[in-house]
């Protein structure tokens, strides 16, 4: 799995490519903590290159959402492949995350999305 971080219109975009599993999810977590632990920034995860995600990967995404809740920033996903979307649907998380079709939509709407406040 590869993780690349870039900045677009004051939003941090984390490009994730490959399989996110028990072995690779700590790498994504590390990137999330680094980007969200410093300056306040909205974060988008480009999931377009994610061919597989397991429960540890989903836990990492939920952790990102929790961090955004704490820091009063926004956190969103875009470019989800059908299998990743199915997994999130099964876990009833599609209404918890802000999910966008593509980067253009994500960048246009991320600032105006309501922060999720239902995390424990």
């Amino acid at each position: 799995m590869k993780v690349l971080v870039r900045n677009e219109n004051s939003t941090t975009i984390i490009e994730c490519t490959g399989e996110v599993d028990l072995y690779t999810s700590p790498k994504l977590r590390e990137a999330l903590l680094k980007e969200m632990g410093g300056i306040k920034t909205n974060v988008l995860i480009n999931m377009g290159g994610v061919s597989y995600i397991d429960s540890s990967g989903i836990a990492t995404l939920v952790e990102g959402l929790q961090l955004s809740q704490r820091t009063q920033t926004r956190f969103g996903l875009y470019g989800l492949r059908p299998n990743a979307r199915s997994v999130l649907e099964l876990a009833r998380l599609t209404k918890v995350f802000s999910i966008f079709e593509d980067e253009q939509e994500a960048l246009a709407k991320i600032s105006t999305t309501m922060p999720f406040s239902g995390l424990s």
Binding site: D21, Y23, V87, L90, V96, G118
Partner: protein, 153 residues
């Protein structure tokens, strides 16, 4: 019991970096057995989650443990057996958390129960744990929608 049409046995050490090998094995066998792409994804995830649980909770991330996977494909089902040599696991530990409680973790067993029809531990297996996971298929060749995840002792 009819003879399995396809059979594969693979043993890895309890290292998370090797999980992709198990996923490849599941995908290969499911493809050979003519399972649909979406069902193949479900089976792959279920076995991956079960193996991840063994690495994390049975071996506590200690990489020198042994993790075996046997895959049998029958015309009406696929059977997966995961073996480890760690401390006994209580079936009680398979209770997934409620989905209303949105927090990181605890989804692995939920996914396994969603995707598999039978989940059982072999109580006669003495040198660790032997977990059996079964997915039944309809006569048309497609898997039943969501596994009942019934635990059998």
């Amino acid at each position: 019991m009819p003879k399995a049409e396809h059979f594969l046995r693979i043993v890895i050490t309890s290292e998370a970096r090797l999980l992709h090998i198990l996923r490849c094995a599941v995908r290969f066998c499911a493809q050979e057995a003519g399972v649909s792409a979406s069902d193949m994804d479900c089976l792959t995830m279920a076995i991956d989650e079960a193996a991840s649980n063994i690495i994390r909770h049975v071996y506590k991330d200690e990489p020198s443990g042994r993790l075996g996977l046997e895959i049998r494909a029958f015309p009406d089902r696929m059977e997966f057996t995961l073996e480890d040599s760690g401390p006994k696991v209580s079936p009680e530990s398979w209770r997934p958390r409620t989905l209303e409680d949105v927090r990181p973790g605890g989804l692995g067993t939920y996914f396994i129960k969603c995707f598999m029809d039978e989940i059982s531990y072999d109580e006669d297996f003495r040198e660790g744990n032997r977990l059996r996971l079964v997915k039944h298929f309809t006569p048309a060749g497609s898997a039943s929608h969501e596994g009942s995840g019934q635990e059998r002792k």
